[in-house]
């Protein structure tokens, strides 16, 4: 697997000098947007009255190019359409559910239909909003955005990758949906790598591929270590470029591995597991697929992100248990050991 070692344009945000901790993903991403906006006068930024303790520096720098449009997400997308038609590059910001679902028809009939460079930032991937409850859980945003062929979908896994993805996406002419997490944990071994239409691999295990969406990749990396203790060699594949999908990389990854486990803080339908299933089926790969995703609407069950990841079997321990329970990782000879 050569592309793990490819040279990539990457910017790793500096940790806070006071606390030594990395900024949460949305702060890292917004920091990158600010750098882009300082270079490109076409950038304007709209928020639907969200972004406390995140957007203040950006608002100060952009001045008249920053507009809080109020709690009105439909209008925010409509405004962005009018702004972009005039040659500007609008970023719009809200919580993932509000940014994606409330104005969905405007997204379709506005930036998508008119092929305009509107950048939609949906903050809070999956269960990130924890105690805020189910209205704040973005569990179908990837599915509805994937339904639109011309939407670029980027779901970074950690702060450094979020910043890299922001910079890597400036040349995209059409609309982009950024699914941005709230946590700050770095995914070990990812090192801020991002390339449109590609997978980012961590490890080279040939028994199982753990394919992960967003910041849940950190749990996947821990799960890889757990199954290694049981003699199972795993590769973690981070899918941050959801659309364009990393189809060729997925084929290369899965054509000689007996088992793929997809892990996503998202419903089953239309998300990463669906994407991987499509690739396996359409290319005739002999790879068993098990999907770990949020099974049903989590009514009446809120809590911390750690609790919710446990409850929905998205934590490292549950991922490892799912892998161990699958017979497929040893069920057929590995291509590398096959004799001609």
């Amino acid at each position: 697997m050569v592309h793990e070692k490819r040279l990539r344009t990457q910017r790793t945000p500096e940790p806070c000098p006071r606390t030594g901790r990395h900024a949460p993903m949305r702060n890292a991403f917004i920091g990158a947007v600010q750098e882009i906006a300082e270079r490109d006068r076409r950038v304007v930024f709209l928020t639907g009255d969200l972004g406390f303790m995140v957007l203040e520096p950006l608002a100060e720098r952009l001045r008249e190019r920053f507009v809080n449009v109020g709690v009105a997400e439909q209008n925010m997308i409509g405004l962005a359409t009018g702004l972009a038609e005039a040659g500007l590059v609008p970023f719009v910001y809200s919580i993932g559910t509000f940014a994606s679902m409330r104005p969905y028809e405007l997204i379709r009939d506005g930036p998508l239909l008119h092929s305009l460079p509107v950048r939609i930032i949906g903050v809070g991937a999956g269960l990130d909003y924890g105690h805020n409850g189910v209205t704040h859980y973005a569990l179908e945003d990837v599915a509805i955005m994937r339904a639109q062929p011309d939407m670029t979908i980027i779901a970074p896994a950690d702060p450094a990758q979020a910043a890299a993805a922001a910079h890597a996406s400036t040349a995209i002419d059409g609309p982009i949906y950024f699914r941005i997490g709230k946590t700050g944990a770095a995914v070990a071994g990812l090192d801020g790598r991002f390339e449109l239409g590609r997978l980012e691999l961590i490890g080279e295990g040939r028994d199982v591929a753990i394919v992960a969406l967003g910041s849940i990749a950190a749990e996947a990396v821990q799960a890889r270590a757990l199954v290694e203790r049981q003699g199972i060699e795993a590769t973690v594949a981070v899918v941050a470029s959801v659309q364009p999908a990393p189809t060729e990389d997925l084929i290369e990854l899965l054509e000689d591995r007996p088992l793929a486990i997809t892990v996503e803080a998202h419903y089953h339908t239309g998300g990463l597991g669906s994407l991987v299933a499509e690739v396996i089926a359409e290319h005739g790969l002999a790879c068993r697929l098990a999907r770990i995703a949020v099974e049903r609407m989590p009514r009446g069950q809120t809590g911390s992100l750690a609790f919710l990841n446990d409850a929905h079997r998205l934590c490292a321990r549950a991922i490892a248990a799912t892998i161990a329970a699958e017979p497929y990782h040893t069920s057929r000879p590995r291509r590398s050991s096959a004799t001609p």
């Binding site: 008249e64 109020g70 409509g78 405004l79 359409t81 009018g82 038609e85 405007l106 009939d109």
Partner: protein, 268 residues
């Protein structure tokens, strides 16, 4: 000059009838309702000399179901060829019963009600950011104001004092399945727009010269956004269509078509 005699409007109305008859489609009453508003806009109010001039005024036909009236207006003012107009509703054509921006001079695609004013307010905000004098016009239906998204755009335009936004509301008192006062009464519409901070003008939507005069006298810079509540007659110019719900969707028979053309007359 009454609208019935306005030569540009008469030409557009005849064209609307001809094309809708050829294509055997409806939305005729809605199209006839807005002809004089479009006649005023494209007859002189819009600063739009070239379709690809970034400094042109923007226009959004937010009530997209009147697209045929827009095509016929563009044709009558030399902006859309006869060949292009004749492709209305032909298989494979871009000219549908709702407009798409891929057609020259159509700035924004519409068809779903409640989107267009947001587009226009965004265009006006862009003009302010880019320090341009261009304006943004949107033509809405009265029943379109049922859509909550309209009022989101209304509030933002007023808050930012976007005096370069001019909304025209085609107040014909009808919607798809009934009269607006029976379906969802928006009265008093003028007080609603005023209460949201807009500069409101109640006008005769069939008086082209009056419409031009009103629109040309609107202050633009850091003023309230403007709305013309244009009283119109649904199906204007064709007696059996006027104020009749059925003509939201019905196509014309041969006899009805002949009568409609005859009522419009063909004089200048």
């Amino acid at each position: 000059m009454s609208l019935q005699q306005h030569p540009l409007s008469r030409q557009i109305r005849r064209s609307v009838l001809t094309q809708s008859k050829r294509a055997n489609v409806g939305h005729i009453g809605s199209a006839l309702s807005v002809v004089d508003l479009l006649s005023a806009l494209y007859g002189g109010v819009l600063d739009a000399r070239s379709a690809d001039d970034p400094e042109r005024d923007r226009f959004v036909l937010s009530k997209g179901h009147a697209a045929l009236a827009l095509y016929c207006t563009l044709n009558a003012t030399g902006r859309l060829s006869d060949e292009a107009l004749a492709s209305f509703c032909v298989d494979g054509s871009a000219l549908a019963t709702h407009p798409e921006h891929v057609v020259s001079w159509v700035d924004f695609s519409t068809g779903s009600l409640g989107l267009g004013l947001s587009f226009a307010v965004g265009a006006a905000l862009a003009a302010r950011i880019q320090v341009s004098r261009r304006r943004a016009f949107a033509l809405l239906s009265d029943a379109e104001c049922n859509e909550g998204s309209v009022w989101e755009a209304v509030m933002l335009a007023a808050h930012h004092r976007l005096g370069n936004v001019i909304a025209l509301v085609d107040v014909n008192g009808q919607q798809a399945l009934g009269y607006t006062h029976d379906v969802l009464d928006m009265a008093p519409l003028s007080r609603r727009w005023e209460a949201f901070g807009w500069d409101v003008h109640e006008v005769d939507g069939h008086d082209v010269d009056g419409l031009v005069h009103t629109m040309e006298s609107l202050p633009e810079i850091h003023a309230k956004p403007h709305v013309l509540l244009a009283r119109t007659t649904f199906g204007k110019g064709v007696s059996y269509m006027e104020n009749t719900i059925a003509w939201h969707y019905m196509p014309m028979s041969d006899e009805q078509y002949a009568q409609a053309l005859s009522e419009l007359g063909d004089g200048p």
